[in-house]
Amino acid sequence: MPESLPQIFLAAALANNFVLAMFLGLCPFLGVSGRLGTALPMGGATTFVMLVASLCAYGLNLLVTTFGLEFLRLISYIVVIASAVQLVEMVLKKYSPALFRALGIYLPLITTNCAVLGVALFQTTREYDFLQALVFSLGAGAGFTLALLLMAGLRERLNLAGVPGVVQGTALSLMLAGLLSLAFMGFAGLGAVE
């Protein structure tokens, strides 16, 4: 079943949204989505790391399969992702120290963002070629950013609403995420679903 590139992009961004349909990358999703100002750069940084990780994973997978070392796949992926995050961190620190401080602990935590490793693993199991992998990672990044932005917008509004004390905090965020996820189910069938 050959999938066209727009199909892959749409499926990764909307129908199989990484955060709302596949539960990947929830920690930053709940952690950084407090304000719109930090949500967008966080989405951008994550998308970039995804792109780098996906390209490296493609190369690594070729290498690892050629030498019959499949059991090293996971370890090599995670090391590459960690280095990519380090790179983003250094660039941000140099060119935008304010943003660097705003993202705080969540920047190095991109390493342990399941969405990034998820991109690398899914493209391997689905046997995407180079171009498909590229589009897939971009779609996943766009989906992640979209979810983060939606959530941040909702939570900024909720700050002004009178919510009972018991519900506040993570419980409320999860309920919101549930509603968003419900809305995203409307995209089911759009693009290629396995």
Partner: protein, 216 residues
């Protein structure tokens, strides 16, 4: 064996992960696998056990190597150790049950990025001798498994009317399908957290000096 006065006892160390610092309900860590695989009680248990195994293995190794790992590269070292154990588990599950392996899919490999394991390595195993670290890790693993099971069983009962694949209700039961779909995961975890919050505030209101309130 009597530990020092300010040090937590072994029992407290063990119970920390099960109750006071439960990874799922109190710390809300490692939620990606918690929500993604808990469509049934069996999957939830398997995921919990796999995570516990990785947690124990990496805790032991990190704790043994704590004096030799330079601070600058500690996170990278921990990640590689964890990834090694995850690879072991990945092959192990594939060998034991192929059906389970396919149900859990990529989420077995995603244990690598489970915040609980790295968090424990950094916050506990790297500072404590192997025995103590293992006790704490066992507690955390059991706590995580209980949390996953609580999610998975509720979702399976509501979403499919079954528990462990056994039908609980009569044939006229209308399954609440949304509970086994992605939104259900968010709703069920949200509801559990709500319940815990409510119990906590109720405990505080009744004037009972519940210790849990301090850690809220």
């Amino acid at each position: 064996m009597i530990p020092g006065r300010q040090e937590p006892t072994r029992f407290e160390e063990f119970m920390e992960g099960i109750w006071k610092q439960n990874p799922v309900f109190v710390m809300v860590l490692g939620m990606c696998p918690a929500l993604a695989v808990t469509v049934s009680a069996v999957n939830a248990l398997a995921m919990g056990l796999a995570t516990t195994f990785v947690l124990l293995g990496s805790t032991l190794l990190v704790s043994l190597m704590r004096k030799w790992v330079p601070r600058e590269v500690r996170i990278a070292t921990y990640i590689v150790i964890i990834a090694t154990f995850v690879t072991v588990v990945d092959y192990l599950i594939a060998a034991i049950s192929l059906a389970l392996y396919e149900a859990l899919g990529a989420f077995i490999q995603l244990i690598v990025v489970n915040c609980i394991i790295l968090g424990r390595a950094e916050a506990h195993a790297s500072r404590n001798p192997p025995g103590r670290a293992l006790i704490n890790a066992t507690g955390m693993g059991i706590g995580f498994t209980i949390g996953l099971f609580a999610l998975g069983s509720v979702r399976e009962i509501l979403g499919a009317g079954k528990l462990f694949g056994v039908a609980l209700f009569g044939p006229e039961f209308q399954p609440w399908v949304i509970m086994v779909l992605p939104p259900g995961g968010f709703f069920v975890l949200g509801a559990w957290l709500l319940l815990f919050n409510w119990l906590k505030t109720r405990g505080a209101a009744s004037g009972k000096p519940a210790e849990a309130n301090v850690h809220a």
